[in-house]
Symmetry: C2
Subunit: 191 residues, 2 copies
DNA sequence: CGGATCGTTGATCAACTTCAACGGTCGTGG
DNA sequence: CCACGACCGTTGAAGTTGATCAACGATCCG
């Protein structure tokens, strides 16, 4: 678990393993069972999560009561409602385990301490957020550019592993279409 | 110009004006005329921009040749294709002035130097990107949750200034609908 | 075995796009 | 300072995409 985080950090900044020894003490690990929640609407968002094995998703419930997935996190991804986390305020989102998942988490207080004590981690997280932000823009671009049918094809092409691992109704909810329509798209392709 | 950046930075981190004196030397300022471009597809993305007065937009051209706005930047916003900037690679996006705009910019090299020389700026940019990332998620949420008609109403309610300042076809392109349909929505409301 | 969960299929319908034509306004050049 | 053209917003008719609803099958798991 911790070694996964170490590998990830060293992809972005230089850090020797002695220092990481210390840094790792700011984090804790846990395992969460499939379908269990890490965060629910109206909770305070107290932690951010790093997936070492498994899959989480961040979703909300729209006005008509449907779950809509905003983001997935598989191995080596960070996930949280960062807006609520930063403000230490209530969230509108849910975080749930798609599969039974091993993860590391860090509390708000530890996060602040870590960033103050270890400026190198400030640098790490700056890059993590830059990348996440860039990824959001790219995703937005896909959704605007292509019909839903094409969005699905391109998504499957780019993340084939994803479409296999994640149940279809979650893929649908992530891509912004209904499970029924997604099913029809897949059916069409076979002809 | 520079004082706007100083005000902005001190909203996120503590910084005395002597230090800022030094920091400001990493940035340059310029003014860009309405409709002029700061970045075009296939350019190297060499800079990031901070708007002090005016308005920029980041857009791309989709497969059918239509311009689609991904992001606006008004006063006190940062804008760039951060993905391309980080990788120092070619961009697919355009950045254009919606109005004649005063801005500060920083080159990739200076950005790297700045972050190394001034860890506090690492902290500042970490927060900028956290917020931008959070904003993207929120926007995604709007687009998924609501019909295009409602997306427009809510957008206008939240950013009335925006709808007035920015031409309608750009608002349409940002919200992901056609100018014609947006016009019909506005017409409807009058009844 | 039995129930819940997930994917499929077809019919209907609404939201939104596309295309084409028109009118107003702004800015530029003559 | 006027006239022209480019640009932008509007309107209507027709066409598509994708949502919704309902029913059925398959599979998984207790």
């Amino acid at each position: 678990m911790y070694s996964d985080l170490y590998s990830h950090i060293t992809q972005f900044v230089e850090l020797n393993s002695n220092d990481f020894e210390q840094i790792s003490s700011y984090y804790e690990c846990k395992t969460i069972k499939k379908k269990k929640h890490l965060l629910k609407a109206n909770d305070l968002c107290k932690e951010i999560y790093f997936v070492t094995k498994g899959c989480l998703h961040l979703y909300f419930i729209d006005d008509s009561g449907t779950e809509k997935t905003v983001q997935f996190a598989m191995e080596n991804w960070w996930l949280s409602d960062f807006q609520a986390f930063n403000r230490q305020s209530k969230t509108n989102f849910f975080i749930q385990a798609v599969e039974t998942t091993d993860l590391l988490h860090i509390s708000f207080d530890n996060y602040q301490k870590l960033l103050t004590d270890w400026p190198i981690m400030e640098r790490y997280y700056r890059q993590i957020h830059e990348i996440a932000h860039g990824a959001s823009l790219t995703r937005m671009r896909y959704i605007f550019n292509y019909s839903k049918e094409e969005v699905f094809y391109r998504f499957r092409e780019q993340f084939p592993e994803f479409v296999q691992r994640v149940p279809q109704y979650l893929v649908a909810s992530f891509l912004g279409l209904t499970p029924e329509y997604l099913s029809k798209i897949r059916g069409k392709k076979l002809s």
